[in-house]
């Protein structure tokens, strides 16, 4: 219990942040028309590639002879980068289809 209270007090600002981010995420999607669900899912998917930053930080901290961290971290970066670049590019392509309808 004490641990919980300590955790709560220590991370109060972060808990606020989490709460508001969650509500923001809910609110933004709730109004979306069905036609945009796929591009939206795809765009959100690209954003989840933000995990790549963890990969970069991991490799940055690795010692020059720590092959496991270097190689493993590089793999994490490759995978995350595919998610980011592929995700945004494919969303862009999908949205191209929508743009044409106006012309």
């Amino acid at each position: 219990m004490d641990q919980l209270i300590a955790f709560f007090t220590e991370h109060l600002l972060m808990l606020y942040l989490l709460l508001f981010t969650i509500i923001l995420g809910f609110e933004i999607i709730a109004k979306v028309p069905t036609v945009l669900h796929t591009p939206l899912m795809s765009g959100a998917n690209a954003i989840s590639g933000v995990v790549i930053i963890g990969g970069i930080l991991l490799v940055k901290q690795a010692a020059a002879d720590d092959w496991l961290l270097l190689v493993g971290g590089a793999v994490a970066i490759v995978l995350g980068m595919i998610n980011v670049v592929g995700g945004f590019a494919v969303t862009d392509r999908m949205l191209d289809m929508f743009k044409k309808k106006k012309s």
Binding site: F26, I29, P39, A46, I56, K60, M81, G87, F88
Partner: protein, 464 residues
């Protein structure tokens, strides 16, 4: 100074994510929004690159980024529009795999290092690995299912959802134990946990069948977001935390919206509602006949009708029939025939999948009707042609409580004067259930590849 700059860049990046997604949710600003989010990501990555690090690591980072960017770019620009859902699923899985790598490597450090992790740290590390792992293998299986490479029956065990429940409880207990006794973590235990997590990801998606795959991808997308957020806690990195939670929340609500569109609960989807139990519906009696229609007959009928409604499904995507569809549309419109499209929320393999395909061939927005609009207009429609759709027009969803899709809102095509089903064979749809519509008195069948049939139909209509 540098640290302040990096944090400022993260703040800008997070703002770009939020505004980007917001703009993505309206058709006019969507493209702009996607680019804004991409720029935000770029800023965040560059800022991270500038942060202090060990000598000689930069080459690894830049090299890996280049390789990943090339692969991602190639995949995104080369893939056919119809395979979009599969690709999104794979991308999502790779994001999860990245989190698995991070979680695993950090946990490995804890094992080897002198300092043992606290309960909180251990929990964060294990969650990153676990959630990322489920997103990883789950997405890969979802991809295989979408691509038709794996069939549900072959990988589902009897009582699979019960097994999954026990499996999950076991893994939670495993994590709780490691959190309470961090010293117990050895390399062997870590590998065991990782393998179990990856198996669980497969097992989690295995019983979820057919038509539910879009829901699963959306759910797994939110898992990837959560794993990124958990990884953000490891590195005390705000943008990973905010971006991850944001995707987690929006993915969850999107999942719920999709479930609502099918009138089913998420729980129902997860335990595999489309399981074999639905097999014993009344359409199984074997003495029903289907009536085939000839191409010239259909062409004449369509040409002289007032209103034609097209119901596209995944078959249209597979056959790449959208261009032929557009041609037919133009010919009919030239003869004052009103052509509309009835888009079921879960037609295709993702919500909005059909809209993307039809937009690709410049079919105007206002011709696409959603479920309610379409059902209202179907009553005074002369000819409905169903192109590669099946489950979304199954009357059993309304009148057969024994059917596994009972309760799902469907397009009431049988209210139209004439229904023509373009279909390759009499094989049941993706959900694996019989469709009494094919035996309906107003239904005629046109067998063949969707694109092929439509092209022949176009030729026939031209002759009128």
């Amino acid at each position: 100074m540098l640290e302040a700059f990096i944090n400022l860049a993260y703040l800008v990046g997070a703002l770009a994510f939020v505004l980007g997604l917001r703009r993505l949710s309206s058709p006019d600003t969507a493209k702009n929004g996607n680019r804004l989010a991409a720029i935000g990501m770029g800023i965040a990555i560059i800022a991270t690159l500038l942060s202090p690090g060990e000598n000689g690591t930069m080459i690894w980072i830049l090299g890996a980024m280049l390789v990943g960017a090339l692969i991602g770019w190639r995949a995104a620009t080369k893939v056919e529009m119809t395979e979009m859902p599969q690709l999104v699923s794979i991308f999502n899985g790779l994001g999860g795999a990245s989190a698995v790598a991070l979680g695993g490597l950090e946990l490995q450090r804890v094992v080897g290092g002198t300092q043992s992790a606290s309960t909180n740290e251990m929990l964060i590390l294990l969650l990153t690995l676990f959630i990322g792992g489920v997103a990883f293998t789950g997405s890969i299986l979802a991809y295989l299912k979408l691509d038709g490479k794996v069939w549900d029956e072959k990988i589902t065990l009897p009582q699979h959802s019960l097994i999954n429940g026990v499996f999950l409880l076991g893994l939670v207990a495993f994590m709780a134990y490691l959190c309470l006794f961090p010293a117990q973590l050895t390399i062997g235990v870590l590998i065991l946990f990782t393998v179990l997590t990856l198996i669980y990801g497969f097992s989690f998606v295995a019983p979820i069948g057919g038509a539910d795959m879009p829901v699963v991808i959306s759910l797994l997308n939110s898992f990837t977001g959560l794993s990124a957020a958990a990884a953000g806690l490891i590195y005390d990195n705000q943008i990973m935390l905010v971006g991850g939670i944001f995707v987690g929340a929006s993915g969850t609500i999107l999942t719920v919206l999709m479930c609502n569109a099918m009138n089913r609960s998420l729980f129902n989807v997860l335990i595999g509602g489309f399981s074999a139990s639905g097999g014993a519906s009344k359409a199984a009696s074997g003495d029903q006949n289907v009536i085939e229609v000839s191409l010239p007959d259909l062409a004449i009928q369509m040409y002289y009708s007032k209103k034609v409604m097209v119901v596209p499904g995944y078959g249209l995507a597979v056959a790449q029939a959208q261009k032929a569809c557009k041609e037919l549309d133009e010919l009919l419109e030239a003869n004052q025939v009103e052509v509309k499209y009835a888009i079921h929320p879960v037609a295709g393999r993702m919500p909005g999948h059909m809209n993307v395909l039809l937009a690709e061939v410049d079919i105007p927005y206002n011709k696409l009707l959603d479920l309610e609009e379409a059902n209202a207009e179907l009553k005074d429609t002369d000819v409905v042609i169903i192109v590669g759709a099946n489950d979304v027009v199954n009357p059993a969803a309304e009148d057969d409580p024994g059917s596994s899709i009972y309760g799902m809102p469907v397009l009431q095509v049988w209210n139209a004067k004439q229904v023509v089903v373009l279909k390759r064979s009499m094989r049941p749809g993706y959900a694996g259930i019989e469709n009494p519509l094919f035996f309906h008195e107003r239904t005629k069948m046109l067998f063949g590849d969707a694109k092929d049939s439509l092209q022949k139909l176009v030729a026939e209509v031209k002759n009128q």
